[in-house]
Structure formats: structure tokens, C-alpha cells
């Protein structure tokens, strides 16, 4: 590898990362301003507010110690989460395919799993004052049950995050294996090459079904309505993220925006054979998908209630079965 090539690759990776960050900061705003607000016939926030201005604002807020048994670890989790998402993006950038196993679907799935586990840790380490510390006399005469073991609301979120890891994210992972089966390779590079030779996986029967399954999995992974089981009504809206403040909250905002972009990029890579690369015009397709996905997601979420497990289990089961069908079709 000569120096020019190394410099070119470094520029490509950095440039793609910059594009990813630049696009991702607008995605939450597009989702809320142009879809939620329009459908609900209200003005909505400025498009820059949820993804761009809010993190900036939070970076300049005062940091307080969260109500957690391990505040430093708790605060470190959003940053770790952000780094993991960046690594997922790096794994699918063509200039880094030389990393071999690290640029394979197994590595991507592993990193996605770690990303999921973060929410479990966040939930178990968050102990907000909203749930327990209020000084109220539960021992008053007539109280139903005295001296009971109390749970923090975020602990429930942690349990739900565990259930999401256990079965909720099945559809996303099953869908990711459709292109793998068709290209008969676990390496991202091979999957891209296969599609350049045989056409995008999306335009096959298996690929089309897989894409639908991937999209539902995408919504579940992002814990978006109606699949927002990680957040109970009592959690207010944030669930395990409830206690984050200042820059740590900013990291969670940035992570969510970037995760939308990364999952969209993963889709274009796996189903269209277009990996994110600043030197390729295909980056426009990636950006377009990164905009279309949250818009479609917002349309679905605006017209649906939040599922409880009663609705969530059958939907995941049905989507997973659809995913298995796609896999069978891919084998054929």
C-alpha cells in the first residue's frame, strides 16, 4: 500500500464519518418537524433543535452527579455507546474491508449486541429520585403493604432491555443474514461485490421480504413507538436514560441520530450493495435512505399506540417468521 493510497483511505474514512455526523444531526429534527408535527397539524420544533441545538445546549449545562450507585460508569455508558456506533460504521466503510473479520457481519452483529446491552446497564445503574426517594409515610395506618422491597422504575427498563436483547431484535438480525445467504459470505466486502455483479439483493423476493423485516427490526432496535417497550409510562419518556444530564445527555442524543444513519447505511450496504463512501456518488443513496427510514418510521409511530408485551410478542414473532421465510427464499 503506497502513501497516496493510505492518505486517500484515511481521508475517505474521516470524510465519511464527517458526512455521517453532519447528516445524523438533522435526522431527529426531520422526523419530528416534518412528519410528527405535520401529521399532528402543529408547528413542531425547529428542524435543527432535536439533533443539533439540543446537544449543543446540553454540552454547556451544569453536570450533577446522577442518582446512581456507580455514577462514573453510568455516565461513561453514552460515550461507549457512541464509540460502538462509530465502530459499526467503520466496519462497513469500504476502505476498512482489509480488516478481515472485523469487517464482517458477525462483527457488526456483535457490536449491535453490545450497543443493546448498554441500555441494560444504563437501566440497572439509573436510580432516579422519581421512583423511590420521595419522603412519604408508607407506614401510616392503613397502608396496604409496609416494608416491601422497592424497585426503581429504571430497573424495569433494564429488564425490558434484556428482553429486547433476548428476542426483540431477532427481526433485524434475521434480515441481515438474507444477503449473507445469497452471497454465501460473512464478509461485508464480499456481499458488496456480489451485489455489484448480480444486482442488489433488495430487488429479489428474499431481499424484498428481508427489507421489510429489516425496517421493522430497525424500529424495534431504535425503540421507537409502537415498539417502545423499554420505556414504561412511569419512566416519563426516557427509560434507562432518565438520569443523564448535560454532556452525557448530549452524547445520547448524538448516538441516537448517528445510530439512525448507521442502520440506514447498513441497509444500503447489505441490500443495495452501496457502502458509505465519501468518494463514491453512492453516498447520496445512503443519505437518501438515512432520510427516508426515519420519515417512514415517524409515519408509522405517529399512527400507532405504544405496544405492551401483549402486542409486542406476536408482532416480533410474526416478523421473525417472515424473516425466516426470506432466509428460506434466499437459500432457494
Amino acid at each position: 500500500m503506497d502513501t497516496t493510497m493510505i492518505i486517500s483511505s484515511v481521508v475517505a474514512v474521516i470524510g465519511t464519518l464527517i458526512i455521517a455526523f453532519a447528516v445524523s444531526i438533522w435526522l431527529p429534527g426531520i422526523e419530528r418537524k416534518f412528519v410528527h408535527a405535520r401529521i399532528q397539524q402543529r408547528v413542531g420544533p425547529p428542524v435543527s433543535s432535536p439533533g443539533f441545538m439540543a446537544p449543543i445546549k446540553f454540552f454547556f449545562k451544569q453536570t450533577l452527579t446522577p442518582n446512581s450507585p456507580m455514577p462514573r460508569l453510568y455516565n461513561a455508558l453514552p460515550l461507549i455507546s457512541l464509540i460502538i456506533v462509530v465502530f459499526i460504521l467503520l466496519a462497513i466503510i469500504p476502505q476498512l474491508y482489509f480488516l478481515g473479520a472485523l469487517a464482517s457481519i458477525i462483527a457488526v452483529i456483535g457490536l449491535l449486541k453490545v450497543e443493546e446491552i448498554m441500555y441494560m446497564f444504563m437501566g440497572s445503574l439509573s436510580k432516579s429520585v422519581l421512583s423511590v426517594s420521595m419522603p412519604f409515610p408508607d407506614l401510616v395506618k392503613g397502608a396496604k403493604h409496609v416494608n416491601t422491597t422497592r424497585s426503581f422504575i429504571e430497573e424495569l427498563s433494564s429488564l425490558r432491555a434484556f428482553r429486547l436483547i433476548a428476542f426483540g431484535s431477532f427481526p433485524l438480525y434475521i434480515a441481515l443474514f438474507v444477503p449473507v445467504v445469497m452471497s454465501q459470505s460473512l464478509f461485508i466486502g464480499d456481499i458488496v461485490v456480489y451485489q455489484q455483479l448480480h444486482g442488489p439483493v433488495l430487488f429479489t423476493v428474499a431481499g424484498a421480504i428481508g427489507a421489510v423485516v429489516y425496517f421493522i427490526g430497525f424500529m424495534i432496535f431504535l425503540n421507537e413507538y409502537p415498539f417502545a417497550i423499554m420505556k414504561t409510562r412511569a419512566d416519563v419518556i426516557e427509560g434507562p436514560l432518565l438520569e443523564y444530564m448535560s454532556k452525557y445527555r448530549a452524547y445520547t442524543y448524538i448516538t441516537r441520530g448517528l445510530l439512525i444513519f448507521v442502520l440506514a447505511s447498513l441497509f444500503t450496504t447489505m441490500f443495495l450493495g452501496i457502502p458509505p463512501n465519501i468518494f463514491s456518488p453512492g453516498i447520496m443513496v445512503t443519505v437518501a435512505v438515512a432520510v427516508i427510514f426515519p420519515i417512514a418510521m415517524a409515519v408509522m409511530s405517529t399512527f400507532s399506540p405504544v405496544f405492551t408485551f401483549r402486542q409486542f410478542y406476536p408482532v416480533v414473532a410474526a416478523t421473525s417468521i417472515l424473516g425466516v421465510l426470506a432466509l428460506v427464499a434466499a437459500f432457494l
Binding site: H36, L130, S131, S151, A234, P305
Partner: protein
Amino acid sequence: MDNNNKITDKMIETEVPIGIVHSAAIEPYRVRLFVEDEIIRDAEVTVGVNHRGIERIMEGLPVEKANSLTEKICGICSNSHLWNSCLVAEKGLEIDVPPRAEYIRIIMEELERLHSHMLYLAHGSEVLGHETFAMRLFYIRETAMELLRMIGGNRVQYGASIIGGVRPRCDLNEMRIKKINEGMDYIEEKIAEFADRFMRDPMVMSRISGVAAITRKDARRLATTGPTLRATGIEVDLRRDMEQYEPFEFDVITQDTGDVKANLLMRIFEIPEAVKIIRQAVKDLPDGKITNRSWEMQDTGIIRSYIEVPRGELYHSYSIEDGRVRSSIVRTPSITNVNTMEFACIGTHITDAQLAIVQCDPCFTCTDRAVQIVDHPLKKNKNRI
């Protein structure tokens, strides 16, 4: 379970306390949910943390002033409180209210029922996670709010009723009647559209069917009141017994299942009935004066009055001594429904806890008038209120 059919502490895996002050609870009340693998085995709703002592303040005030104060009890059914406290005085002092004033009071009350029911539906939708429904319902509700503002001059505290009738500013002229009719057309059309959309939505229906169901037997046992009672199939509506409602034809809506779905549908179907009453009242509005001022203040014993308000049965009572209020008691529907709220939670998933409580249409702000005796070590007079 122990011998008294009560769940013992040993059964409880963990407790999830919510509130007193919690963003999900909206109003200050405390819910203790005793859960086992996210299924609620027992629940406790505690109110009484936002005591404002309205009855205490009412003690010794001139009757008119005390009546005005009752309007401040609630921000949703302020008219109901004022109307009922005026009814107490009118009953005790045997005051005849002019028919035109009675009709205007009915219009105000039914407009209040409209906006309260739409608020309930919007709140219920919001707890369901369906923000779009909530937003749309708030838009429809605006019409009722604006009509109330047009008649009463305010969007929350209308101050319409006075002893012997209604205030002169609340009289209805041709322009106001036209606006009310237009408003009713709009609400009727939009609510029909909403009902159609709501009932056709399979996701919403699957989310609310069979959740937090209350049987007729339990509803009777728990002294449930209002639409929550009617949602279990029991046809009880105090409006049927109120002489003020005698001229009007309307149906008492009931549902059978007593679950969240039945409660939401109850309010949806009660809206056209309220519209029907308003239309009749506007159409047959009698001529004549709107206030009877020919009465004299005198001492009375304790007078009681029950009326049907949007959330159920509202009770007001007081006696009059030297033109001042004594022994005032107010009981709002929500206080009688607290037991139902607790009961509705049992057996539901923890995610549905808020929904189970919300289905009883609670209004804790107006319910919180309990007195707590605080023992303060630094004060000589240890028992203070």
C-alpha cells in the same frame, strides 16, 4: 392470599412506587404498585398531598363568596361546582330559578361535559402513546372551550351561576346561539370522524380491549360513579333524577365490558348526547329574566345537593348561619372512584397501570381536600392543620 382474601406481603415480589410528584402522574398523587414479573398484584393510590383547605376557607364566608370559591376547586368542572353550590343555597332558601337561567346553566354544564370528555379522550390517547389522536382531540375540544369563553368570559372559571340564576353577561343572544349551533355541528361531525377512525384502528383496539376490566358486581361494591360505572353496564345517571334535565331528551349511554375500551367508548358516545341536549336547550330557550333577585337570606340546616358532572356524582352541602356558610362539605367523583382505580390496576401489566387509573377519569386536584395533622416538634401548638 390470606384468609381475608387479601394479598399478603410474602406474595409481593417488589413494589414500584410512582409519585408523589412525577411527570407521568401529571397531578400529585402517589401510586404504589405491588408487582410480580411486571403483573400488578395489588395497588395503592394515595391522595391528600395537595390540600388547599377550600372547605375550611369557605367556613364563615358570605354564601355568594363561598359559592364563587367552589369554582376554584377544579379547573375542568368549575361550572359544576359553582352550579351545585348555588343549588344548595337555592334548595335551602327555596329560591325559584327562572327557566331561561336553568337552560343556560344546562348549556354551560353540557359544554363542560363536552370539553371534559374530550380532555379525557385526549389524555387516554396520550397515555396509550397515540399522540396524534390526543392532538386531534384537543383541536376539537377548542370549539367547546371557545364557546364557554364566549358565554362566561373565561376559558376556565366562567362564573356563570349565581344564587337565583345566572350572571347577566351569560345571557344568550341571536349571535351567541348561532355560534353555539355552529360549534355543535363541528363537534358532532369531528367526533363522528374520530369515533370511526378510533374504532377501526386494530392496533388501538387490541391495546385497550380487556385491559383493566371492572365487573358490575365490583363496580357496585367499590361505589364506582359516573361514566366509569356506566361502562360496566349499570344504567345510573343522576341527570335522569334532576328536575333541571326534565325538559330534555337524551339517552343514558352504557357499555358492558368495564374495561379501558368500554370507558373510552362511553365518553365518545356521551358526546353526541351532550350535543343533543345543548341543541334542545338552545332551540327551546325560554324568554324572560335570567336572575331571580326576590329572595331573602335566612338560616338553614345542612342542605345537600347531588348532581351528575362529567366525572360522576358531585356532592355539596352546607348550612347557612347569618348569611354565612357553615359545615361545608364537598365530595368529588374522583374520591369515590379511588378504590376503583386501585382495583382496576390489579391483574394488569405495569405498562397499563396509568391506563387503568386514567380510565376512571381521575381529577386529583379537586379531590385533594383531605386534612393531614402534622406534629411539629418546634411549635407549642403541635396539632396544626
